[in-house]
Symmetry: C2
Subunit: 404 residues, 2 copies
């Protein structure tokens, strides 16, 4: 049910096939982000239409609204959001540490204030695991302690150590759930720190029948010595089906991220798929694949799309610019998406200038198609063992100053 | 190119086929409203998917942004908005009299302030005709003077008389344009009252090659004697391919609208398609078809959809209500649209509660599908000459207080 096969290599870059309960996906893979159980402005049909094979949703957001019990009672996350292909849920660690106004971290877990209604909630590693189990994605993520990009060694070490201890607890709870151990009883125990706002205890009826795997998240800030030590500890803790690199692309300088990836690569077991969380922009995807990464997620394609910024092979285009007013050309002449095959830049600009909803969707759709085509192009370059020269050529065009 | 054939009758209700340059459409027909050249939140593919055959766009809005010259230079309105089926443009009369902050009406036309940037603009009957000619919809509407629903006899008569004089001028200008008379020269003459904000004069290159027909608009407020006199005058003015009834559903009591329709019906030449502008809600469509109306447009399906209100055979449903929280049923069990065949009420409620863009689209899509299926059901009832009993049954269900 959980298998990763490497199909080809080119330098450190790899292309492979990841098999999950809801289907097989090819890597390098970009996952569009459906934070609240919907990829903003896009429907499941849109996503299938642009070739998306796997989507990310967020356990924190779905716990806050509508509550994982509601999703479970409505048949689980796949059915809830109308997505029948693989899904991954992030654990909520990142959100707890970036969105919540108030938070208190201790060894047990995190008490925080909901960013929606200010209610106090407590999430422990066990609770984060249960929430994701109820949601029922193919891949669940361990609950992690994320620190800002510039965190000093002591802070980063403290968060890494906590994340490792929490990983053990996530792994234990996940094993129990997989083995069908009585969830209701456990929940009562865990709920000790929870407030009146916490959802009611688990009902066994909402336990999804689908299998699910749990991936660890490696923290350690921009400190390679922490990262390499953390990696060894993670690998000692269990036999994982994949591994995520978290806490990068959170404010640190870009060379630091590349340094971490290069430093980690030799220690990463080749058979494990590597997921670089929250990355990224087209240039970051290319650079990370070059350094051995297999999976990505990022809100950039949809968020930038909603802001009127479109990815093209010649770099980003701001569709609001007056130069597009009477431009009959498509956004991206090389693209096969609905936006590019149907509408002119002039029309797309009109939609943004007049604040029409269709514009948000059409640029999001194109941008997601763009990164999915980019991933496909990378897979092809790896298969012909020419990733280095392909990446050089790609960068030359993407970064070149454009002529009008 | 412009033909209307009545296929069946049931009482005053008729079903027919209207042939236009971009295809044939069946009546009774509901046109979704694409005010700014886009039906809010829906793509042309969505519209085709729910069976829309004809769409309305607004000359006033497209004149203000992006300017009809831009649309013309980008290939005309059909190509601009990616819609290859019939289009109708409203003249802008209604908008000038409802949206503009400042306005000054005289015999020549209307000077008004753009609702977008406050710039002063002048639209004359000739100018409104030219704008629509450049946009190139299948049907253009005459420029009319619209008064509020409660207007007294003198005010309504004054606006009706002006609308009739303007109709003559629209008709004359439209004939000249059809005959290819030098537009550039004419524009210079008309531009006398225009300000610096007015767009540059017509260039012959933007004259669409498509044929276009012009429909008159009957005004007269809620005064039947004005309406019947106005109708006779319109019919004396030319040989039209259709006729619109304007200035209803603008604040007058509903029985007044029905009274106007019933009073006008005997005087309406059967071979002319009848278009009731700005109507309406499901109950209004049924009542108006019962009184001999063929075409409709209204923002209600999309606007209500964006507000979370969905049409169903059992009356409107507010999807935000807490009762839908864990409701696994579709919005409308009888509906075949993407929304109803894919998503639960619980998920749709979640999208609205979390302000997700997909919710706006999914409810708009369903509501448009709902009125299009309603029109199809009406056509079927007319064909079996059973419109009266069908309408009674429909109302019984739609208006019945619902059980939970």
């Amino acid at each position: 049910m959980f298998e990763f096969r490497i199909d080809a290599r080119s330098g450190s870059a790899r292309t492979g096939t990841l098999t999950l309960p809801h289907g097989s996906v090819e890597t390098p893979l970009f996952m569009p982000v459906g934070t609240q159980g919907t990829v903003r402005a896009l429907s499941p049909n849109d996503l299938r239409g642009v070739g998306a094979t796997m989507v990310l949703a967020n356990a924190y957001h779905l716990h806050v609204r509508p509550g994982e019990e509601v999703v479970g009672n409505l048949g689980g996350l796949h059915r809830f959001m109308g997505w029948d292909r693989p899904l991954l849920t992030d654990s909520g660690g990142f959100q707890v540490f970036s969105l919540a106004g108030f938070r208190r971290v201790d060894e047990d877990g995190v008490e925080f204030q909901s960013h929606v209604d200010g209610s106090r909630r407590t999430v422990t590693p066990e609770r984060a695991t249960e929430i994701q189990w109820t949601l029922g994605a193919d891949i669940a993520m361990a609950f992690d302690h994320v620190v800002p990009g510039g965190a000093d060694l002591a802070t980063a070490r403290d968060a890494l150590e906590r994340t490792l201890r929490w990983l053990e607890r996530c792994g234990k709870r996940h094993r129990e759930l997989r083995e069908g151990d009585g969830m209701t009883e456990r929940r009562k125990g865990d709920a000790g720190g929870a407030t009146a706002q916490s959802p009611s205890p688990f009902r066994p009826s909402v336990i999804p029948s689908q299998s699910q795997t749990l991936w660890p998240i490696l923290q350690g800030g921009a400190h390679l010595e922490l990262r390499t030590a953390g990696l060894r500890r993670i690998l000692d803790l269990g036999s994982w089906t994949g591994l995520a690199i978290g806490g990068l692309s959170v404010g640190e300088p870009k060379p630091a991220m590349y340094e971490m990836l290069e430093g980690l690569e030799p220690g990463l077991p080749p058979p494990l798929p590597r997921y670089l969380m929250g990355v990224g922009f087209p240039g970051d995807l290319v650079a990370a694949v070059e350094r051995g990464v297999d999976l990505f997620d990022c809100v950039a394609p949809t968020r930038n799309g909603r802001n009127g910024s479109a990815f093209t092979p010649d770099g980003p285009v701001n569709i609001r610019n007056a130069e597009h007013r009477e431009d009959a050309r498509p956004l991206d002449e090389t693209c096969d998406c609905e936006t590019c095959t149907t509408f002119s830049r002039g029309y797309l600009r009109h939609l943004f200038v007049t604040d029409e909803l269709l514009g948000l969707r059409l640029l999001s759709l194109h941008n997601v198609r763009y990164v999915i085509r980019l991933a496909a192009a990378m897979r092809a370059a790896i298969r012909r063992n020419a990733f280095g020269s392909w990446a050089e050529e790609w960068r030359r065009r993407y970064l070149e100053p454009r002529s009008a």
